[in-house]
Symmetry: C2
DNA sequence: GGTTAATATCGCGTATTGTTATGTCGGGTG
DNA sequence: CACCCGACATAACAATACGCGATATTAACC
């Protein structure tokens, strides 16, 4: 049996007549005769009692009618459910962020997402870029913001922007008396590499980036302290134990407060891309897809407002489907 | 959406692959591609996540799958329900019978019907033929056994048999001393009309029949007592207050017990047809139809066994559908 | 880099579905 | 009582959908 036949049957019973149902259904009356006849043949029982005044359901017809209504209704509900799920996604979205990104993105994202997608529950996990990527591979999170482009391995990334890293030091000068560059001047990598540096450990993306730039520039870095936390790096720098390199936006607060001072690095700027990663091998819930599409928008807005120190809005290259 | 598409979709998900589902469904794989694509276009959402390893449902697909299973199941249940209802009718069947018929038919009918159609509940109402017909018109009963042929008025009748009426009197002779015919002899209507008669009132089918026969034979009936109950007629006759005319079978018990004696009426036999009436304008439940078809069979069997004094098995003429 | 195994696309034949025209049957009406 | 009308049934034909086979495309695997 076919739902179309069920619909037709319901219409006939509701109209009490083949011909009236035909006009309502905008088809010709013989089509209904045929359909009912086929159904009756299929079920081996008369469904409608025809009379010159119209048609009324037989006992079998009553049974069919009762069930047909349920089935047709169920179908409509199903379509509605799917459609509403498309237009108004709901469910949990787990997002992994590195600390510096979280610091600037978490609050705007949560507030904006809650407003735009009330049905979506965001769970943000904060960790270093490497861990975030690992979680992503383990499917412990649905989306990740990381500092590298990843392709293959079931992941796909979309570049959000490129952050420019800034060299910064304590506003009050270094504890060991070494002189810092004059405020507002441009500094060269070679000129500051000799200052005591507070940087993350060697398996960190930022450290690798700095090492790479130092190598290209042919200078040795004077690594004074290795700390695996952006907050602690900033605190140690503010306390005068050395200088460091971090995204501009993550130190702008302390700079404004007068705890830190920063210099623009001369020569090739040290930049790192910020990517949004999503799984390409698992089907994504609509909630995840909504957030995935929402984050780049939000980041663009933040960058435009100047809230994000980064630059360069790249073209999207994340396969979305 | 179409149930066929739902079935196909379920098969694809269960098989985890378009092509495997195609072989299971015994259709070509491109057909499945098309169907899924149509469904996705219709719903405005991807349903399956295709990969070189097969296909898994997306979020929308999961919703659809869950509902599709229910719908397909519901359809199967519906068909099953209708079919089982056809093969094993159940429900209430209200049957109206005149007293003399009930006396012979009720017990065999109830026992036989209960065995053959365990799902059917028989409710037998007993009343004089005229009342039974009235109930039938008021749709207070589904089937009626009556003594006349009825056509039109939304009713249709099937003749079950023709009862032959017998003249009978008290075995011990009449109270007033009038002489009864010799046992075993044939009597003429004219010869017995003068005896005191105990008959039903004038609006009774049996009384009308007797009046008609008396008129045709040109004799006057000596109506001694009018009683509207077959049982009471028999009791009064047995008590010697007069003679009467009733169907042979309804007095055979008392004749055998020696309470009554009966004579065959010479000349044109007094007969009345027994009809089974059913509504032709209301659709009949299968239970009613089953009993309607069952009663003639049973009556035939009873007549064959001799349990029914009637004769003449007519051809069925009741429209059955 | 070729092979394999999966889905997507295309063109065509056929079966299903719907339409128009006509038939049949009952009931109501002059 | 004949007539007409309204309702369902039937038949021949047209449009659409469906399924098939061949082939393209893609990603994974060796």
């Amino acid at each position: 049996m076919d739902v179309r036949q069920l619909r037709y049957f319901i219409a006939i019973v509701e109209q009490g007549s083949f011909s009236r149902a035909a006009t309502v259904l905008r088809i010709a009356q013989p089509a209904l005769s045929l359909h009912v006849r086929n159904m009756e043949a299929h079920l081996g029982a008369p469904l409608l009692f025809r009379s010159p005044k119209g048609a009324v359901p037989t006992e079998a017809g009553e049974i069919l009618l009762r069930n047909a209504r349920i089935i047709v209704e169920q179908l409509a509900i199903t379509e509605e459910e799917i459609r509403s799920n498309e237009s108004d996604p709901r469910g949990l979205v787990r997002l992994g962020l590195p600390g510096t990104i979280s610091e600037i993105l978490s609050v705007p994202l949560i507030t904006a997402a809650r407003q735009r997608y009330p049905g979506i529950q965001l769970r943000i996990a904060e960790a270093m870029s490497g861990f975030v990527l690992e979680w992503m591979r383990d499917a412990r999170i649905d989306l990740a913001v990381i500092y590298r482009k990843v392709s293959g391995d079931g992941l796909s990334t979309e570049e959000l922007l490129e952050e420019e890293l800034a060299f910064f030091g304590p506003a009050g000068g270094l504890n060991d008396g070494e002189t810092l560059p004059a405020p507002g001047t441009r500094v060269s990598l070679a000129g500051v590499a000799g200052l005591p540096l507070i940087v993350p450990g060697e398996d960190h993306g930022l450290r690798l980036l700095l090492d790479h730039h130092a190598e290209v520039a042919g200078v040795d870095m004077n690594v004074a302290i290795e700390v695996d936390s952006y907050t602690n790096i900033k605190k140690l720098v503010a306390a005068g134990f050395g200088c460091s390199v971090l995204p501009l936006h993550s130190i702008s607060g302390e700079v404004a407060e007068g705890a830190l001072q920063s210099w623009t690095i001369d020569g090739p700027p040290i930049r790192r891309p910020v990517h949004l990663a999503c799984s390409v091998e698992r089907p994504m819930t609509n909630a995840v897809a909504a957030i995935r599409d929402f984050i780049p928008e939000l980041v663009r807005d933040l960058a435009r407002e100047g809230a994000w120190g980064g630059v360069s809005e790249p073209a999207a290259d994340c396969e979305k489907g």
